[in-house]
């Protein structure tokens, strides 16, 4: 049980980093990134590329973590002038383009077959690294969220024009958030690659993006506790369906389908009855009467 728990915690930590990255983009800034899996995949594929071409692991991590924010800027550069639902389509498409490229150009990292990368032999070490990464991103996101910057990002979420007439450059802020959060997601990707030891395109489909979205929307996109709670619930549901299938005697494929359906239902119900998620944004109080 211990090893499985360690593995599960590692995976949950990785997904939590992705969720925090989406929290910065969507929860704070209001950027609808339907290609959240892209920076994750870029991080993982940087590692895979290095492994496939005999480069050291740190080089792979470097490639992934640098390339992801650059791609992010490329995608957001013109897209920042688009309405959010267009940007959603652009990011969705960009993620798919990346996956299709990896699938159809085997020179990069093995095509459909994928590539083995160095795998952490010590599961505890992997968990500690994942938790460390989570802690770093968490502290970063918390510092940003509670700062004047976080306040201005929330203004951007509410009304870009307001931010502009107040003398801020919305695109600069959006670029900054994209770069920072895509670095996070890419780092998660690098770690994920070394945890699973194997990278292939089928790990980075549109569905992965929606697992992250479900978690973030369920927990409450605007708070860190919210997205963490959402991730834990979604990932534990995913893990526990294995046990539920055995325990209940229902066919596994039915249980797997029900699980996906449950994600869908969660998205719908949360928007209908609890649009702010399980943990809504906390009101920051100031003493206005002090002299």
């Amino acid at each position: 049980m211990i090893d499985f728990a360690v593995f599960s915690i590692t995976i949950i930590a990785v997904w939590s980093v992705l969720a925090i990255s989406l929290h910065l983009q969507f929860g704070l800034t209001g950027l609808v990134n339907f290609g959240q899996v892209l920076p994750f995949a870029v991080g993982a594929y940087g590692t895979a590329f290095a492994a496939a071409h005999g480069l050291p692991a740190w080089a792979g991590a470097g490639i992934g973590v640098t390339l992801a924010p650059l791609l992010g800027l490329l995608v957001i550069l013109p897209a920042s002038r688009l309405a959010q639902d267009y940007w959603a389509l652009v990011t969705l498409g960009a993620g798919e383009i990346f996956r299709l490229t990896m699938l159809n150009v085997p020179v990069i990292a093995g095509g459909d077959e994928g590539t083995s990368v160095y795998r952490f032999q010590n599961a505890d070490l992997a968990m500690v690294l994942a938790l460390t990464l989570l802690l770093v991103t968490l502290l970063f996101a918390r510092r940003v969220g509670a700062s004047p910057l976080g306040r201005m990002l929330r203004v951007l979420r509410e009304d870009e024009v307001l931010a502009a007439t107040l003398g801020r450059n919305p695109f600069r802020l959006q670029r900054m958030v994209t770069a920072a959060s895509w670095v996070m997601a890419a780092a998660a990707g690098v770690l994920y690659a070394h945890v699973t030891g194997y990278i292939s395109p089928s790990s980075f489909t549109v569905l992965e993006t929606f697992v992250i979205w479900t978690a973030v929307v369920l927990g409450g996109p605007s708070t860190i506790t919210g997205v963490l709670l959402g991730t834990v619930i979604v990932q534990l549901t995913s893990v526990s369906t294995r046990f539920v299938a055995q325990w209940s005697g229902l066919p596994s494929d039915l249980v797997a389908n029900l699980r996906l359906g449950a994600y869908g239902l969660v998205l719908i119900l949360v928007f209908l009855y609890r649009p702010q998620g399980l943990i809504p944004e906390r009101k920051l109080r100031y003493d206005a009467d002090r002299l």
Partner: protein
């Protein structure tokens, strides 16, 4: 001195503004009136940079103000409020006031992580200033309410307060009195007079003639995107063309 020269805007064949020119001196309130669709809001939008422009130029004390770039316009000390107030609805009144302050060290990642002390000091200053602005608006008791929960009149006051935090030299106000109760209108009038006394330039787009006549030093009348009259409020009241374009509105 704010100088607007030959400002024209067109959408396809429709001319929203036809070479509008005007001047406003520091410590004065310039009223901008005209029937609906006469181009008043477009005029403010162009100066504030919210709207791309076809031709013309805007200068503040001789310096050219860039057009179509709201964030750069704001840096020149020009602030605009909107007819339907633009606010961050899911932030509190106090936070809304604070975001008006500029520049904020805490909005740059580098200072946020490398100069926390500077950030903290600036933040404390902003809070102090926000308190005084709230007192000036008489909104202190609403400080911790969400901006979206305020009444229309209070929202207008709030957006004025946001502007004040940026110490603008020019205030572009879009119908601050529309749909606002008389008590709050009175408070706004007093506030505008104070601001004039501080030497700011105020462009006031307003339908409420009582307010216009009460505070404006000069009034410009727009119709179909062109200036049709200009003068002191009393002269404008008597102008025949203005009466005609306002048709039915008591002059």
């Amino acid at each position: 001195m704010l100088t607007v020269c030959d400002l024209s805007v067109s959408y396809g064949r429709f001319q929203a503004l036809r070479s509008v020119s005007l001047q406003a001196a520091p410590g004065s309130i310039l009223g901008l009136i005209g029937p609906n669709g006469s181009g008043k809001s477009t005029f403010l939008n162009v100066i504030a940079g919210v709207q791309a422009v076809a031709s013309g130029e805007v200068r503040l004390d001789g310096t050219l103000v860039p057009l179509g770039l709201p964030e750069r316009v704001a840096a020149h000390g020009i602030g605009r409020s909107f007819q339907t107030p633009r606010l961050a609805h899911r932030l509190t009144v106090f936070q809304n006031i604070m975001i008006g302050a500029r520049p904020q060290a805490g909005e740059r990642l580098r200072s946020l992580f490398l100069q926390p002390a500077t950030v903290r000091r600036r933040e404390a200053d902003i809070q102090d200033e926000a308190r005084s602005v709230l007192r000036r608006l008489d909104l202190s008791h609403k400080a911790n309410d969400y901006a979206g929960m305020l009444s229309g009149g209070q929202q207008k006051l709030l957006s004025l307060g946001m502007l004040l935090m940026g110490h603008p030299r020019v205030l572009l106000l879009d119908e601050p009195a529309a749909g606002v109760n008389p008590v709050l209108i009175e408070r706004q009038i007093n506030l505008l007079k104070e601001l004039r006394a501080e030497g700011r330039i105020i462009l006031l787009v307003e339908h409420n003639m009582e307010m216009v006549c009460g505070v404006c030093d000069r009034v410009v009348v727009l119709d179909s995107g062109a200036v049709i009259a200009e003068g002191d409020p009393d002269a404008i009241r008597r102008d025949e063309r203005v009466m005609r374009s306002y048709l039915g509105e008591p002059a």
